[in-house]
């Protein structure tokens, strides 16, 4: 009987995966990400040609116009994950296919597990193929490929990207389990997306400005340069930055960005200003990078587990009735 129990999950998984891979929603997002990321890889190639010391990994961050890969994921990641999860349960509840499904000889958790695994697989296909295509394109254009260490970094980035997308899928799944209508869960998803990828940085900046305002030198004799070079000013900027990043760490997108920047070997990237204000490109080796990004990775993983566990428990307790 064990075999048959596993079969339930496998069958749900296969159907859901086929649904995803054939769905317009998934294909449109996939095409969009693929298009934007090849464009960003191309810009990365141009960047590397100008500065050969930048290294192969620059294809992921070296885009000067538009989005780099990390930025793409910060911005579109939530919408991709949420899009695959937000109606997974409630759509079947309202349509009445869930009660038909659960009248079959399977355990209830086979349904939620199968749906989640299918979503993760679809997201992995998207993430891995995007990264693979970017790397192969860059290799062709540059005439050289990633070294062994770069390959390891790329693999880590791919794994982290899957984890990150899976988190959003889990959140979408939770939304689809707690709400009865897909119109509600889609609104929750859009609100979350706006909050986590756009609003949070604005909110963080506003709060930082309230807590640590930048003094505006006044009077005819004020010397701007003196102010900017003073240690107090530098300390103030540092404090503002700390406040901002701590607020933004609520958003998994920000955590993901921090972790990926570290894995790419950039201690000071877009969001980092070294304490000494020195070079923003202090490079990290892989173990340093992992140590540094471990808290972020853990936080995303914990978030994923929490979302999935909550949807799982709620789903098992769901009262299956016509019309919800």
């Amino acid at each position: 009987m064990r075999r048959f129990e596993r079969m339930g999950v496998t069958i749900v998984f296969r159907k859901e995966l086929a649904d995803h891979l054939g769905s317009r929603r998934y294909l449109v997002l996939f095409a969009l990400i693929l298009l934007l990321s090849t464009m960003s890889a191309y810009q990365g190639v141009l960047y590397i040609r100008d500065r050969p010391q930048a290294g192969f990994m620059a294809i992921f961050w070296g885009a000067q116009f538009g989005f780099s890969f990390t930025y793409l994921m910060v911005f579109f990641g939530p919408i991709i994950g949420l899009a695959l999860g937000f109606d997974a349960v409630n759509k079947e509840r309202t349509s009445g296919s869930l009660s038909v499904l659960l009248s079959q000889p399977i355990y209830r958790d086979a349904v939620i597990n199968g749906k989640f695994l299918a979503g993760v697989t679809a997201l992995s296909i998207l993430g891995v193929s995007t990264i693979t295509i970017m790397s192969s394109l860059a290799t062709t254009l540059l005439g050289f490929g990633p070294g062994a260490e770069d390959l390891l970094r790329i693999t880590l980035i791919a794994a982290l990207t899957i984890l990150y997308l899976a988190f959003w899928l889990g959140l979408g799944l939770l939304f689809s389990t707690v709400t009865k209508k897909t119109s509600t869960s889609i609104l929750m998803s859009i609100a979350t997306w706006l909050l986590c990828s756009i609003m949070i940085s604005i909110i963080a900046a506003l709060v930082a400005n309230m807590i640590a305002p930048i003094p505006m030198p006044s009077g005819p004799g004020a010397n701007m340069t003196r102010l900017f070079e003073s240690p107090e000013y530098r300390e103030l900027i540092q404090r503002r930055f700390t406040i901002q990043s701590n607020i933004q760490r609520i958003s998994p997108a920000y955590l993901y960005n921090e972790a990926v920047q570290a894995i790419m070997g950039r201690a000071g990237g877009f969001f980092f200003i070294g304490p000494g204000g020195g070079s923003p490109f202090r490079s990290l080796d892989i173990s340093q990078a992992l140590t540094m990004s471990w808290p972020q990775i853990t936080a995303i993983a914990v978030g994923l587990v929490a979302c999935f566990a909550a949807s799982y428990i709620l789903f098992l307790r769901l009262e299956i009735r016509p019309g919800g």
Binding site: V12, S95, G96, L98, S103, Q104, P105, Y107, I320, P322
Partner: protein, 311 residues
């Protein structure tokens, strides 16, 4: 002696204060077409969900095909099919793909699955639409697909929850014919839940009346009808050429006549014992002519309401 296939013992489900199903004791036998009749909100759906292991009873037990509804619910879903109230399908898949998914979930190997899908789509008259997406289907077609999905597992018993709700008369007839045929020709045990008296009467022989979660009566429609009539005594309806107050008074005076009601030229005579002969003699003696004389018929609605009023 027919074997019981569904047996409930004091089966109870509370939703907070609401007693959706209240100490239900019910037996359904193999091969029968059992009607489960009750107004909306009487607990029919809740009962079916419990029997399929889709919701846990508050107390009491039940078995379906010998399996316990709590401990062995997955086994029940292997041998029992449910067409849920308001059942839905995957709109962007074809009828065949929908059925194939359900067939796979029942562990039916591919060649056998394909064979059954073909047979069943024919049986419910959907063979021409096998490769059409379900989104194009009418309600009646979807409901027939639902029946085919229930049958793909070759169930020992099929539960249908309000299978004709929202269908046009033609659709209702098609569903009813399919269910009757399955029961007669394939010997499928059918548990048919509905709030429509007429429909249950047309389809089922034995009926359980449920109201407010309680089973009020279980019997054949004829017996239920007789019981209501019996409890009421016998009533005769007359149409006469002339009715005088004296005539009415005299009929009333006959031993065994409980009461007489007049409605224009009609008389309704309620008797504790059969006094038809005496009553008609009295009428003739008074010089009135009997144009019509018949026992009062109880319509199904009367029976239905009678049972619901009593408890």
């Amino acid at each position: 002696m027919p074997q019981p296939i569904v047996e409930t013992r004091e089966l109870t489900k509370y939703y907070g204060e609401v007693k959706a199903v209240d100490h239900l004791n019910l037996t359904v036998y193999e091969g029968e077409l059992f009607g489960f009749l009750g107004p909306n909100g009487s607990g029919k759906t809740t009962t079916l969900l419990m029997l399929m292991g889709l919701t846990i009873p508050t107390s009491g037990t039940a078995t379906v095909a010998g399996y316990d509804i709590v401990k062995e619910s997955k086994e029940i879903r292997r041998v029992a099919g449910l067409l849920p109230e308001g059942a839905g399908y995957y709109e962007d898949l074809t009828a065949r793909q929908n059925m194939d998914y359900i067939g796979q979930l029942n562990g039916i190997p591919k060649p056998e699955r394909e064979k059954r899908i073909k047979e069943l789509l024919e049986a419910v008259g959907l063979e021409r639409w096998a490769d059409t997406r379900v989104e194009k289907f009418s309600r009646g077609m979807k409901q027939r697909l639902g029946i085919a999905e229930v049958l793909i597992k070759r169930p020992k018993i099929a539960f249908f929850d309000e299978p004709t709700i929202g269908l046009d008369p033609q659709g209702v007839k098609e569903i009813r014919d399919i269910i009757l045929r399955l029961n007669r020709e394939e010997g499928l045990t059918v548990f048919y839940s509905s709030h429509l008296l007429y429909e249950v009467q047309q389809t089922c022989r034995r009926v359980g009346f449920i109201r407010n979660g309680r089973l009020i009566a279980t019997d054949t429609i004829e017996n239920l009808s007789k019981k209501v009539a019996g409890a009421e005594g016998k009533t005769l309806e007359f149409e006469l050429t002339e009715i005088t107050p004296k005539l009415v008074a005299e009929i009333r005076a006959i031993d065994g006549v409980a009461s007489v009601e007049q409605e224009g030229l009609r008389l309704y005579v309620y008797m504790e014992r059969d006094r038809s002969r005496e009553v008609s003699e009295t009428i003739t003696k008074h010089g009135s002519v009997i144009l019509l004389m018949r026992p009062r018929e109880y319509s199904l609605e009367d029976i239905f309401l009678k049972y619901y009023e009593e408890v």
